[in-house]
Amino acid sequence: MTTISTPKQSDGRKAGRRSPLASVALIAIGLLFTGGAYAAFSTSTASAETNAASQQTVGEGQKLFAANCATCHGLEAAGTNAGPSLIGVGAASVDFQVGTGRMPMQLNGPQAEKKAVQFTDEQIVSLAAYVASLAPGPALPDPSLLDAEGDAAKGAELFRINCAMCHNVAGAGGALTQGKYAPALAGVTEKHIYEAMVTGPQNMPVFNDMNISPESKRDIITYLKYLDNNPSPGGFALGALGPVSEGLFLWIFGLGSIVALTVWITAKSN
């Protein structure tokens, strides 16, 4: 994994979001130019990215996969009783699942929980390259779609129509059946939002490019980043959960403090 031709430090993940994106972008662009014309015209049903330059990365990824993932997904990534087949899930899926810490899964449960990321960026790139080499699948998104400078109003509308029924209008998350849930979206990186839309992790449906165009996905990301970067104009948002948190707050703190004051007002002086 040290042979990847990128000047970025491998521990730069925490230091800034741009550096991993840059390295990913370099690889993606390199592959697009060298890999063939097919890849250049498709953004999501991407290419079988195998060539000489990435062969070593794929090899590294295969080793990592065998050591960390094969127990559940099988040595050939064809799936076992414990985990699904990864053939054709694409690099985007691996980058999302491993990059958000959901994989490797810590324990069986209704769904894989987000947790601390277990691999370095380079390791994730290798894993993604290996899984992508098995069969064509959604590739890593183009950085131009992740700049969060699209049309927030259009993104907000699309979000309300397509996403809000599970994730809540303010992206605060919501409940699904059987203990599953749609997670809160605050603080999720642009890349992971995009990848989630293309790959449909866990219970999420896939929003392919016929359904929501890449530009519209960029608008949705723009809206979510707008929510992230702009605090609620009305003051503390109380979790943006709607009337439940408002009602609880009113009863406990509003009426609670008023009752405390009534006790104070009517207290007999000693």
Partner: protein, 539 residues
């Protein structure tokens, strides 16, 4: 000659005490207000924190009127589609109703508008909550007994009207959340057999959502409902003056007197100051905490529904009832769909509301007590009533909590199905558990009171008598405390008596049955004889 008379009059007025006196005299000579001031100013109000809860409701209503008037200056109750062009970026260029656009303008482009919106909404939540707590106080202390039964009914109707005000107001901004709420109401109305569809079309002026509903709700919200509420509040307060205020039992307090402070100057000053305290708290909440962020919800569109869509807290119990009803209860009969999944919640909530509304009459009939009661019951001294109240509170609370079933599921990491099934169990079995537990606790507390009156408090001091016997010294309860502990109404189950025709009617039997259920388990208050006997025994 006439000039002279006027001068003397003026001189006389001046003598009686400066500008204040002159002004007071001027007003009194024209309105005879001194009689009213003399009467009201010397009116006595007892002091207890729980007596201020109704005031909190009244003050929140005043705050709602003030902030609401401000909002009417800028709100446009029209569903004409417009393109939003205000300063909230993520909605720019989006088509929405004029109502939604003007609500956004109030929030972002009118100075103080957002603060006033939040003041209005927080005060509305507080208004209904304060009424609820006030009602619980009235119920659990038995303040609804004769002569106050009608005032209970007025108060309860006010509670219902406050919910109606809340719901109509919640629907006005025409955002996604309020539209979803209206859709649920529309569905409930349509679920009523035969007339449902007609009523729905009449209400919305055609198929939902139409273009009429916001304007109609606005008329109700700012005209009809507030007018009725103001009139009923006036009646409610008038009755408080006529009946005089109730008081908690205590030394020197009887059904014939009221112990407390006069309105002028003490009570008026306290109550006046308290208004500003309530206003201050509402202001604080409104300036620090977001409420109903319509800019997140966006304009109403019948297709999307957001996760975490709930009504404001006071409609939560109805929302919860809909969530709890098991699936598969619709059937086709006589070529019509019968939606029992809607009818069962509607009917059970209707019955619940009816029982609460007429409870004073039910209890009055069961006890057969025609006396006036101005001394409040301590909740433990009316075990069955307190237990019924606890059962009602449990029923309501379970429905209410269910309205947030999805949020309970995500935040406590449990399954939706688990939450719903637990709540279904609690709604049905919970009230019974609450009834029995509460009744036993009340009886136990009464026993403890009895014990204290007869034998005093345990002092923890062990004394060895000359004969070698050890006894614990009990500290006798003082007379003021004893008054509180022994003076309560004790009811015995009613005997069935034949009426004038020598017959025992079904009504009589039902009444005797209910009376037995109310009063068969009872702890008698300590009588003087008993007290004297134990006293002698100790000596």
């Amino acid at each position: 000659m006439s000039t002279t008379t006027t001068t003397t009059d003026l001189v006389e007025t001046k003598k009686s005490g400066g500008l204040t006196g002159a002004a007071a005299n001027y007003i009194d000579e024209r309105t005879s207000i001194s009689t009213a001031v003399k009467e009201l100013g010397r009116k006595i109000f007892p002091d207890h924190w729980s007596f201020l809860l109704g005031e909190v409701a009244l003050y929140s209503f005043v705050i709602i009127l003030l902030s609401g008037s401000f909002l009417t200056f800028f709100f446009s109750a029209s569903m004409t589609p417009v393109e939003y062009d205000g300063s909230y970026m993520p909605l720019k260029g989006v088509e929405m109703s004029a109502a939604m656009a003007s609500s956004l303008d109030i929030s972002f482009d009118i100075r103080g508008g957002l603060l006033m919106r939040q003041v209005h909404h927080w005060a509305a939540l507080l208004f209904v909550a304060a009424i609820g707590l006030h009602m619980l106080r009235i119920y659990f202390t038995g303040a609804f007994r004769k002569p106050r039964e009608l005032n209970w009914v007025i108060g309860f109707v006010l509670f219902i009207l406050a919910m109606a005000e809340g719901f109509t107001g919640y629907s006005l901004p025409d955002d996604l959340l309020s539209g979803n709420g209206l859709r649920i109401i529309d569905g409930m109305v349509k679920g009523i057999p035969l007339v449902g569809t007609w009523i729905s079309f009449l209400l919305f002026g055609g198929e939902f959502p139409g273009e009429a509903i916001v304007g109609r709700l606005y008329s109700l919200h700012i005209l009809l409902l507030p007018a009725i509420i103001v009139a009923l509040i006036a009646m409610h307060l008038l009755f408080v003056v006529v009946h005089k205020h109730t008081q908690y039992p205590g030394a020197g307090r009887t059904n014939q007197n009221v112990v407390g402070y006069p309105v002028l100057p003490v009570y008026a000053a306290k109550a006046g100051g308290f208004f500003f305290i309530v206003f201050g708290i509402v202001m604080l909440m409104a300036s620090l905490f977001t409420i109903n962020p319509i800019w997140n919800y966006g304009p109403y569109d019948p297709s999307p529904v957001s996760a975490g869509t709930q009504p404001d807290w006071y409609i939560g119990f109805a929302d919860g009832a809909l969530r709890l009803i098991p699936p598969g209860l619709e059937m086709v009969w006589l070529d019509r769909t019968w939606s029992f999944n809607i009818l069962i919640p509607l009917v059970s909530l209707g019955l619940f509301i009816l029982v609460v509304l007429i409870y004073p009459f039910i209890e009055g009939w069961v006890t057969g007590d025609k006396r006036e009661h101005h001394i409040l019951d301590r909740p433990r001294n009316a075990p069955t009533r307190t237990a019924i109240g606890a059962a009602g509170v449990t029923f309501y609370a379970a429905l209410w909590a269910t309205a947030s079933s999805d949020i309970i599921a995500t935040h406590f990491k449990v399954t939706m199905e688990g939450v719903i099934h637990t709540m279904q169990f609690l709604v049905i079995v919970g009230p019974f558990i609450a009834f029995f537990v509460t009744k036993r606790i009340c009886l136990a507390l009464q026993k403890k009171d009895r014990e204290i009156v007869l034998h005093g408090y345990e002092s923890g001091r062990i004394v060895r008598l000359p004969g070698g016997e050890y006894i614990e010294v009990h500290q006798p309860v003082d007379e003021y405390e004893r008054w509180k502990l022994v003076s309560y109404n004790d009811y015995k189950p009613l005997m069935i008596r034949p009426n004038a025709k020598g017959k025992i009617t079904v009504g009589q039997k039902a009444r005797a049955g209910l009376s037995r259920w109310f009063f068969e388990d009872r702890i008698e208050p300590v009588s003087t004889t008993e007290l004297v006997r134990t006293h002698d025994h100790h000596h």
